[in-house]
Amino acid sequence: MIRFLIRRILLGILVLWLITMAVFGLFFVAPNNVARTMAGRQATPQTVELIRERLGLDQPVWKQYLDFIWKALHGNLGYDYYYQLPVTHIMAQALPITLSLALGASVIWLIIGVTNGVLSAVYPRSFIDRGLTAFALFFYSFPSFLLGLVLLYFIYYKLTLSGLRWFPPGGYAPLSQGPGQWALHMILPWLTLALVLAATYTRLTRSSMLDVLGEDYVRTARSKGLSERRVVLRHGLRSALTPVVTQFGIDLGQLIGGVVVTETVFSLPGLGKTVIDAITRQDLPVIVGIVIFASAAVVTANILVDVAYALLDPRVRLH
């Protein structure tokens, strides 16, 4: 187990390193005129050249890359091109927003997805099952930007028009303004993200649970005279959760790197929106910083999933 973990971590570092190279490579292969853009329309070639020098863009690519890696290893991801703010600072501002979004939504989608999945599996082909399946398929096939806009339209716009100013149109309220304000700002983004994912988790839990309920050990649990509730939850769900937890780790890892669509629709300045803005402005240090962070989140999540898998299943743990 320990050796396996070490191997996974080394592999993860390798992947991250390759990703930094790829991002750097892509940025310089693609035509880039960040200095021109910054200098403005009327700028003389001299001004542009000056800016290029200041940004270090006049150096050969390999030198820029080594410079970047060296600083990154010391916790310095550079400064953004436009305001000269440390990239780590920009990310530290955006991260709580993305975390609020991802973690809050994950609670909702896990509760909805697992509950619905279990109900569907316990009463297969019943009215409940069909209803929940229809519910899941509906949101499953809903693009999240559309769902976000629909929620905004009905829950924000329509309500506000009829005088009920319950929800803000978007933006973020930090927890320091009170949990109420925070939650109020987050609730539509949470739903946007959670409803789509809840659909996936409903399907996943249902099929996993259906498999498990057919297992011999579930029959044994019934033959012991346990209550049906205990049979389903303690014996059934306990095993059925393993693939759900795996999927959850992977999804959460991806979301923590930034939830581009939902953050954009609701003007939440999280990592996703920040990186999109940085891309349109060709702000390389910010792009690289966020991409590395997002990749690190995914890599870490995958390792944690393996650890969780071993913790959940004693047959894996003890080998």
Binding site: D216, Y217, R219, T220, S223, K224, G225, S239, P314, L318
Partner: protein, 343 residues
């Protein structure tokens, strides 16, 4: 009154392919402390008939009657059944690895069983009892192994764990569904011995399901032979081995290694069991029966008393007179031998 009285038990399932008639008319009595064996090929309805008694056959349509210690199992509600399952009717199954929960320690699984039926037992006392049971079924260092997971035991040891769990609350009846089928031949006898030992100590009645007549010879008082969901023959162990009536029983016995006759050659019954979807009205064994005659193809025989012994029943149109039946058998053997001669 017997502990368990089954009358005309019928079990069917609605499937997309039609109605599966898994059990058609099963009747037997079982007294306390006795062992009844149900024998038959795979698919003959052995598991379904026993699992439907305690409501474990999901989606099954069950008719007839099953009275357990005065309680009608088939009309009992879920709450009543739950009190009977485990506490009064214990079960063990064919594959002990898949029948134990892979994620929980064996001690935990036994403690859960004990405390499900008696909340007043402390966790500690239940654990001690679990360890005691594990050592009763012959697991070495039981106290240390209580914290192990099922996959850390060998097949035979796992089945002992299942037995310990099923017997932990001293049920009146143990249903053992092919308890040795998945095990190595060498450990089969040990597992049977453990069952018999606990049976003697606790006075448990056992329904032993198997397709192996060798297992039956070890430890049953009465035997029910099933085929395609129907009872073919029902007799005491002695009668079944030495005075059987039914051609299917005859075929099963002929395929036993010890009875192979010349050398070790076995003669398994040729052909396969019929589908239990919409079975036609004829003897289900007719397509494979060497004795089959016209009546067999027209009418399905019901079990009837044979050889003048009320405890011996057979569902076959052949003569119920012992001497006549013996002559028929002799003629059959003779014609078989002459048919094999040229080869």
């Amino acid at each position: 009154m017997s502990l368990l009285e089954i009358r005309d038990l019928e079990v069917s399932f609605n499937t997309p392919d039609g109605v599966v008639r898994a059990v058609r008319g099963l009747s037997f009595d079982l007294d306390r402390g006795k062992t009844l064996a149900i024998v038959g090929e795979s698919g003959s309805g052995k598991s379904v008939s026993t699992q439907s008694l305690t409501g474990l056959s999901r989606g099954a349509h069950v008719t007839g009657s099953a009275t357990f210690d005065g309680i009608d199992l088939l009309t009992a509600d879920e709450h009543q059944l739950r009190g009977i399952r485990g506490a009064r009717i214990g079960m063990i199954f064919q594959d002990p690895l898949s029948s134990l929960h892979p994620y929980y320690r064996v001690g935990w699984q036994i403690v859960e069983m004990i405390r499900a039926h008696d909340r007043s037992v402390s966790k500690r006392a239940a654990r001690d009892r679990a360890a005691q049971l594990l050592s009763m079924v012959g697991i070495p260092h039981a106290k240390d192994r209580i914290g192990d997971f099922p996959h850390q035991f060998s097949g035979g040891m796992r089945q002992r764990v299942m037995i310990a769990m099923a017997m932990s609350v001293e049920p009146d009846l143990l249903i053992a569904d092919e308890p040795t089928t998945a095990l190595d031949v060498t450990v089969q006898a040990q597992v049977l011995a453990v069952m018999r030992k606990l049976q003697d100590e606790m006075g448990t009645a056992i329904i032993l399901i198997t397709h192996d007549l060798g297992v039956v010879a070890e430890m049953s008082d009465e035997i029910v032979v099933m085929y395609a969901g129907q009872v073919m023959e029902r007799a005491s162990r002695r009668d079944l081995f030495y005075r059987h009536h039914h051609p299917y029983t005859e075929g099963l016995l002929a395929s036993l290694p010890a009875q192979g006759g010349k050398g070790t050659r076995l003669s398994p019954i040729k052909g396969t069991p019929p589908s239990s979807i919409n079975p036609p009205d004829r003897c289900p064994f007719a397509p494979r029966c060497p004795y089959a005659f016209d009546k067999c193809w027209r009418e399905n025989p019901l079990p009837r008393v044979v050889f003048g012994d009320p405890s011996h029943q057979s569902a076959c149109w052949l003569s119920t007179d012992e001497a006549t039946r013996r002559e028929e058998r002799a003629r059959m053997v003779a014609s078989k031998l002459s048919a094999e001669e040229p080869a």
